[in-house]
């Protein structure tokens, strides 16, 4: 590399276009932030892969206790799935409204996402409480330990996502849709969509295959 090469780069690419592929300077902060968060989400998928593997290995070891077919209520699971899916949809529309600096619309969509996510959590915790009440708690069998660990970890992620959403709404109200608030909002929406992807694995592997 010579000094001449370095000198020609800024003239070939104006600084306001300086991004991408190393030519003309570093990528915009927004791209860097979201890429870093994407790496975090992938590591979260790796965490869940361990729990999925444990559940898949243990799912037949019921130790004489209740099986999935006896415990799962697929109607509730379908409602949970729809809550999370529509919450992901309203979250996407909310992120879009925020990009377009439509704070009012963003707040409406954020409220919808929150209500749907909370409905999911209420149904799930009712299910958990019912199972524990029937003596099918996590200590009953290896199958139930795996079930509560996998589904419970997903539920904890949803709870964290809802708390994060409250925090984001407070920031939007207090600070407005500034660039750094928008970057945090982008990370939150990625997190929320990723949780829905994990849930697709949960309802397929745990509920649909377990209830057969």
């Amino acid at each position: 590399m010579t000094v001449a090469t370095l000198d020609t780069v800024p003239s070939a690419v104006p600084t306001e276009l300086a991004r991408g592929r190393g030519g003309g300077g570093p990528a915009p902060k927004r791209v860097v932030v979201a890429y870093g968060f994407w790496i975090f989400l992938l590591s979260d998928f790796v965490l869940f892969s361990g729990l999925f593997a444990a559940y898949a290995v243990l799912s037949d070891q019921t130790a004489g206790g209740p099986t999935g077919a006896e415990l799962f209520n697929l109607r509730n699971v379908f409602i949970e799935t729809m809550c999370l899916l529509f919450s992901s949809y309203t979250c996407g529309l909310g992120a879009l409204s925020a990009e377009r600096r439509q704070a009012g619309r963003f707040l409406i969509f954020a409220a919808l996402s929150f209500v749907l996510g909370a409905a999911f959590l209420v149904i799930e915790s009712t299910e958990f409480a019912g199972m524990v009440g029937k003596g099918a708690g996590p200590s009953r069998s290896a199958f139930l330990s795996g079930f509560f660990t996998l589904v419970g970890t997903h539920g904890v992620h949803v709870t964290g996502g809802l708390l994060w959403l409250i925090y984001m709404v407070a920031q939007v109200v207090a600070k407005g849709l500034r660039p750094h608030v928008l970057r945090r909002l982008l990370c939150w929406s990625l997190f929320w969509h990723a949780l829905d992807i994990v849930w697709v694995g949960v309802f397929t592997l745990v509920y649909l295959m377990g209830a057969r």
């Binding site: 979201a34 890429y35 729809m82 899916l85 309802f203 649909l208």
Partner: protein
């Protein structure tokens, strides 16, 4: 700015900068596809529309299809040159996920098959 002068943007998951008008539509299309795939999954699992021994495989295929819909329509992971970084990271993540899940199932099934028969009076 076209031809050789085109500057490739880095793209980032969750952002679709080039088609601002198509965005509401793309989320709605994604939602429709995801709802459809979910309903098909539930129906397939509860009926014998599919050849019964093939149902688990069918459910896994449907789940992968739905995960693909989520990645494309909600997270906006695409195939264009600007997405290279995101797709490479995703491929590596999926590789690890695949290794952990299939490796665990394979090894534990093998161990289970090689277990000595357990005596009846052994405490469980």
């Amino acid at each position: 700015m076209d031809g050789d002068d085109r500057v490739f943007d880095d793209r980032t998951p969750g952002v679709e900068e080039y088609e601002p008008t198509a965005n509401y539509l793309s989320y709605t299309v994604g939602l429709g596809l995801a709802v459809l795939l979910t309903i098909v999954s539930f129906v397939v699992s509860q009926t014998n529309l599919l050849w019964p021994p093939g149902i688990p495989v069918g459910l896994i295929v449907l789940a992968f299809a739905q995960i693909g819909v989520h990645l494309v329509f909600f997270l906006h992971i695409g195939t264009g040159p600007d997405h290279t970084n995101n797709v490479v990271a995703l491929a590596f993540g999926l590789f690890i996920v695949f290794l952990v899940i299939t490796g665990s199932i394979w090894i534990i099934a093998n161990l289970n098959a090689n277990m000595m028969p357990m005596p009846v009076n052994m405490p469980r």
